[in-house]
C-alpha cells in the first residue's frame, strides 16, 4: 500500500562488501544515478566473482556452509537503509556474510517477485514481509516456521503485541523489525490560528472538524483516504474490531462486526456532512492539500514522521504529533499502520545463520544506527530496548523540539492485542478501496465497501481450501 513504508530509491550496490576494489565506486555511481538499475546490476555482477575470491581467500577456501567457512546468506528488502544495515553486519561479522538485494516494495512487485522465486525454489534466505502479508506467506509455505529458532532472549526483547501478529497457533513465522503505532500528525500553527485544541476523543475530533470547516471553509481537519483500506483497518482495530480471528480450527471472518460498523458510521457522517475531504490519501491531490495547508491533520504510523520531514522540509516547525483520539479515554487503545517483519524462507539452507542475522537486525543498536544513518527515519523498533537509540539519533527540530519517540513509546504500549491479519489481505484491501473510490456521488457507503470486501475475499479463501466461518455479512 502506498501508505506504508515508502519505497527507497534504488541503491543497489555490489552485494558483497568485502571486495575493497569493486565496492565503493560503483555504489557511489549507482547512488548518483538512481534510475540506472541495469547498470548497478551489471556492476554487482562484475563485483561478484571478485568478492567471492576475496572472501574465499580470507576463509581458507570454503565459501559456503562449511563449519570453518563463511556462511553466505541472501537478503531481500525494500526497506530504506537496508544496504547500510547489511554493510554494518558484514563489517562486524566474519562467519556470516549477507548479500543484499534491494527489491521493489511489496505492492509494487516485491511480493510477486518473492512468491515467484519461492515457486521456482530460489527464494532468498531472508525476506522482508509486512505484517498484513505474514499469514499469506506462512500459509503458502514461503515463510518457514521458525518457532524453535526464536529463543527466549529474543522473545523477551520484542513488544508482545508485535510478535503476536506473526504468531499463529503458537508457531512463529517471522520476526518483527518495527511496530508502528498510528498517531495523529497535526499543524500546530493552524490549530492555534483557528483556536482548536488537540482532540483527545473522536467526539472532540468531530467538533474540531466542524470548527475548521466553519472558520476556514476551504480547509478540512482530515481526509478520509479512499485508497487507505489499511488506515481504515487501523481505525476499526482501535475500536475493538476483529476482522479475522482463529476460532475452532477455522478462520472466522467478520469485517462488518459491531466496532467496524460504528467506525464506518462515524466516518460516513464526517464525509456526508463534508467535514473531511474524501479523496486518495496519497498522490498529487493529497500532496497539494498538505502542501497548501488545506489539511490540518493526518493519521499514519510512527514511521511517517521521518517521511514527512523528507517530503516537506519547508513546513519545518509547523507540525506536531499527538496520540490517536480515543473512543473511551479511560481505556485507551491504539492500532498500528505499517511495519515490517523478517522471515526465513523455505529455501534457506542455513536457518540458524539467517536467524542470527535477523536477531542482530532487530535487536542490535548498531543495526538501528546504521539504518537511521541512511537519512531521516522515525522507525519505531519492535524491540523497546532500542527506543533510546532512535531517540538520540532523531533530529527534533522539525517537530519544534517535541520528543516524538517518547510519545511513540507511550502509544506503542497501548496497542490493542486482539488484532489479526487474514490469509489474503491484498484482495480485501483492493476490493475495499474500489468501494471507497466509488463513495463520491453516493454510489457506495463506507460500510458497503467493507461488506463488498468481505464478499470479494471469501472466494479466495475458499479456493485456497481454508476452513472459514463468517460472523458478519
Amino acid at each position: 500500500m502506498p501508505s506504508r513504508l515508502p519505497a527507497p530509491p534504488a541503491e543497489a550496490a555490489p552485494p558483497a562488501p568485502p571486495a575493497p576494489d569493486a565496492g565503493p565506486p560503483p555504489s557511489q555511481e549507482a547512488r548518483q544515478r538512481p534510475g540506472s538499475s541495469r547498470r548497478s546490476v551489471l556492476t554487482a555482477l562484475t563485483a561478484l566473482p571478485l568478492a567471492g575470491a576475496v572472501s574465499a581467500c580470507g576463509s581458507g577456501g570454503s565459501s559456503s556452509g562449511g563449519s570453518k567457512g563463511v556462511t553466505r546468506l541472501t537478503f531481500w528488502s525494500a526497506l530504506r537503509g537496508s544496504q547500510q544495515v547489511v554493510d554494518e553486519f558484514n563489517r562486524t561479522h566474519e562467519r556470516i556474510q549477507v548479500d543484499f538485494e534491494q527489491i521493489p516494495s511489496g505492492t509494487q512487485g516485491g511480493y510477486l517477485k518473492l512468491s515467484n522465486a519461492a515457486r521456482a525454489g530460489n527464494s532468498p534466505d531472508v525476506a522482508t514481509i509486512e505484517y498484513p502479508e505474514v499469514p499469506e506467506f506462512a500459509i503458502d509455505g514461503v515463510a518457514r516456521d521458525i518457532t524453535p529458532l526464536v529463543d527466549g532472549g529474543l522473545r523477551r526483547k520484542l513488544l508482545p503485541q508485535s510478535l503476536g501478529l506473526t504468531t499463529f497457533k503458537k508457531r512463529i513465522y517471522s520476526v518483527p523489525l518495527d511496530v508502528e503505532p498510528m498517531v495523529m500528525h497535526y499543524r500546530k500553527d493552524l490549530f492555534d490560528r483557528f483556536g482548536i485544541e488537540v482532540p483527545r476523543t473522536w467526539d472532540e475530533f468531530e467538533q474540531a472538524a466542524r470548527t475548521v470547516r466553519r472558520r476556514a471553509p476551504e480547509r478540512r481537519l482530515a481526509v478520509f483516504p479512499t485508497d487507505g483500506a489499511e488506515t481504515f483497518a487501523a481505525f476499526a482495530w482501535q475500536a475493538g474490531a476483529q476482522w479475522y480471528d482463529i476460532r475452532d480450527g477455522a478462520w472466522n471472518i467478520s469485517l462488518a462486526d459491531e466496532p467496524t460498523r460504528r467506525v464506518a458510521a462515524y466516518w460516513q457522517r464526517l464525509v456526508d456532512e463534508d467535514l473531511v475531504f474524501a479523496n486518495p490519501g496519497t498522490g498529487k491531490l493529497n500532496d497539494a492539500q498538505i502542501g497548501r495547508g488545506l489539511l490540518l491533520a493526518r493519521f499514519s504510523g510512527a514511521w511517517d514522521a521521518g517521511a514527512q520531514m523528507n517530503a516537506r522540509p519547508a513546513q519545518k516547525g509547523d507540525w506536531r504529533i499527538a496520540g490517536l483520539p480515543q473512543w473511551d479515554p479511560d481505556r485507551p487503545v491504539v492500532s498500528t499502520q505499517g511495519g515490517s517483519t523478517f522471515a526465513v524462507t523455505k529455501d534457506c539452507r542455513h536457518p540458524e545463520a539467517a536467524m542470527e542475522f535477523i536477531a542482530w537486525q532487530v535487536c542490535d543498536p548498531a543495526s538501528l544506527r546504521a539504518r537511521l544513518s541512511s537519512g531521516a527515519s522515525s522507525q519505531y523498533p519492535a524491540a523497546p530496548g532500542l527506543v533510546q537509540v532512535g531517540r538520540k539519533a532523531f533530529d527534533r527540530s522539525y517537530y519544534g523540539g517535541q520528543d516524538i519517540y517518547r510519545l511513540f513509546d507511550e502509544e506503542a504500549r497501548k496497542i490493542g492485542p486482539n488484532w489479526r491479519w487474514g490469509p489474503r489481505m491484498r484482495p480485501t484491501v483492493t476490493v475495499m478501496q474500489d468501494g471507497f473510490a466509488r463513495m463520491s456521488g453516493g454510489r457506495q457507503s463506507v460500510i458497503g465497501a467493507v461488506r463488498a470486501a468481505q464478499r470479494g475475499t471469501m472466494p479466495d479463501l475458499r479456493a485456497l481450501g481454508l476452513a472459514t466461518t463468517q460472523h458478519s455479512t
Binding site: 470479494g456 475458499r462 481450501g465 481454508l466
Partner: protein
C-alpha cells in the same frame, strides 16, 4: 480498381463462393485458412491431365508429404502455445496444494474437484466483470460492425474521393499496438493533460471521460479507433468480390445507390459480416489492455474490472493460481460456447433463407 490488400483476400474468396459451400461452413472461421486462388488452380490442373497410375500415386504421396511439412509448424505451435497451456490451466484448476483447516503446515497437492470453480462462480467481483464485458460487447460489436460496413460501402460506391488515402488513414490506427493506443487515449482522457477536455472546458462543457458511466464507452472508443480500419478493409475486400453484373442489374432495375448497398451488396457479404462479428466478440471477451492501462488514472476501473483482469489479479496479486486457472477455463468455455452459438445461429439463418430465395426464384 484498387488492388486488394493481401490479408483479407481469403475472406473475400470465401464470401464470393458462399453459395458453393454448405451453409454450416459459411459462418465458420476456417474459411480464412482456405487456400488462396493460385493454389486451388494448381491443384486442379494435374487432375485434368490423364496420367499413369504410378505417377498419380507418387504425386499423391508428394502432396501428402508437402501437406505434412506445411502443417507441422501449425500443429507444433498449436500444441505448445495453446493446448499445453490450456491443459495446464485445467489441471491447476482441479488441483491445489493445501493443508486443510487454517492452512499452516506442510503442503501437499490434492485433487480439489470443483472447489475453485465454485469459488469463481460465487465471486461477485467475477460476475460483475462478466457484466462489464457483456455491456462492452453490447455497445462495441454492433457499433463496430455497423461503422465498418458503412465505411466500406461508402468506399465501394465511389462516393469517397481519394479512396486510397481514406483507406490508409482508416487503417493506420490498426498498426499502432494496443498498449500505445491505450496510452495515447489515456493522455486524451486525463483531465489536466488532455487538450480535448481543455477545449471542451473552454467551450463551457465539462466531461469526465473516466467517470462511472463514461468509462465503458471510453474503452469502446479506443477499441473502435484501433480496429475499425481493419474490419473496414475486410468488408471492402468482400465487396470487391461481389459480381459487378449483379450490381449493374440492380441499377438497371432502378435501385438507387442506398438500396443497392443495403439490399444487394450487404446480403452478399453476409459471411464476412458474421466472421467480423465473431472475431470482434472473441477479442472483446478478452478485454484487458485498455482497462488495465486506464485503471492507473481512474478508480472506476477496479483491479477486477473484466474477467481477464480478474484472472491477472488472482494469479499475480492474490497469488491464487487455482482461482485464476478456474476463471480462465470459465472464460474459455464462455468464448467457445458463444462462438459456437453464433455459428449455429447464422448457419440456421442461412439454411432458412436459401429455400426462401429458391421459392422466390420459382415464382
Amino acid at each position: 480498381m484498387t488492388p486488394e490488400p493481401a490479408g483479407p483476400a481469403p475472406a473475400a474468396t470465401g464470401a464470393g463462393h458462399r453459395s458453393d459451400h454448405s451453409s454450416e461452413e459459411a459462418g465458420d472461421t476456417s474459411m480464412t485458412t482456405t487456400a488462396p486462388w493460385p493454389a486451388a488452380g494448381e491443384g486442379r490442373a494435374p487432375a485434368a491431365v490423364p496420367a499413369p497410375r504410378g505417377a498419380r500415386r507418387t504425386a499423391r504421396r508428394r502432396a501428402l508429404g508437402a501437406c505434412g511439412v506445411l502443417m507441422t509448424p501449425f500443429f507444433v505451435l498449436l500444441v505448445t502455445v495453446f493446448l499445453i497451456p490450456v491443459a495446464t490451466a485445467v489441471w491447476l484448476s482441479f488441483f491445489g496444494s493445501d493443508e486443510p483447516g487454517l492452512g499452516f503446515g506442510p503442503e501437499r497437492t490434492v485433487f480439489v474437484g470443483l472447489r475453485s470453480y465454485a469459488a469463481v462462480l460465487t465471486d461477485p467481483t467475477f460476475l460483475s466483470g462478466l457484466g462489464v464485458v457483456a455491456l462492452y460487447c453490447l455497445l462495441y460489436i454492433p457499433l463496430m460492425v455497423l461503422c465498418a460496413l458503412v465505411l466500406a460501402l461508402l468506399l465501394d460506391s465511389g462516393v469517397v474521393r481519394l479512396r486510397a488515402w481514406a483507406q490508409l488513414g482508416l487503417f493506420l490506427p490498426h498498426a499502432v499496438p494496443g498498449i500505445i493506443a491505450a496510452i495515447i487515449w489515456l493522455y486524451l482522457y486525463t483531465p489536466g493533460l488532455s487538450p480535448v477536455i481543455d477545449l471542451l472546458g473552454r467551450a463551457g462543457v465539462t466531461v469526465d471521460f473516466l467517470g462511472i458511466h463514461t468509462v465503458v464507452p471510453s474503452i469502446v472508443n479506443i477499441a473502435l479507433w484501433s480496429n475499425l480500419g481493419y474490419n473496414m478493409v475486410v468488408f471492402y475486400a468482400a465487396l470487391q468480390a461481389v459480381p459487378r453484373e449483379v450490381v449493374e442489374a440492380a441499377v438497371v432495375d432502378g435501385a438507387g445507390p442506398v438500396r443497392t448497398a443495403l439490399q444487394v451488396k450487404t446480403p452478399l457479404i453476409r459471411a464476412s459480416i458474421v466472421m467480423v462479428a465473431m472475431f470482434t466478440l472473441i477479442f472483446a471477451l478478452q478485454l484487458f489492455t485498455e482497462p488495465m492501462l486506464l485503471s492507473q488514472s481512474t478508480p472506476m476501473i477496479s483491479s477486477r474490472f473484466s474477467p481477464s483482469m480478474y484472472i491477472y489479479d488472482a494469479a499475480f496479486n492474490r497469488n491464487n493460481y487455482g482461482l485464476a486457472s478456474a476463471a480462465s477455463v470459465v472464460l474459455l468455455v464462455c468464448t467457445i460456447a458463444l462462438s459456437y452459438g453464433v455459428t449455429r445461429w447464422t448457419g440456421r439463418l442461412d439454411a432458412r433463407s436459401v429455400p426462401d430465395e429458391q421459392q422466390e426464384a420459382a415464382v
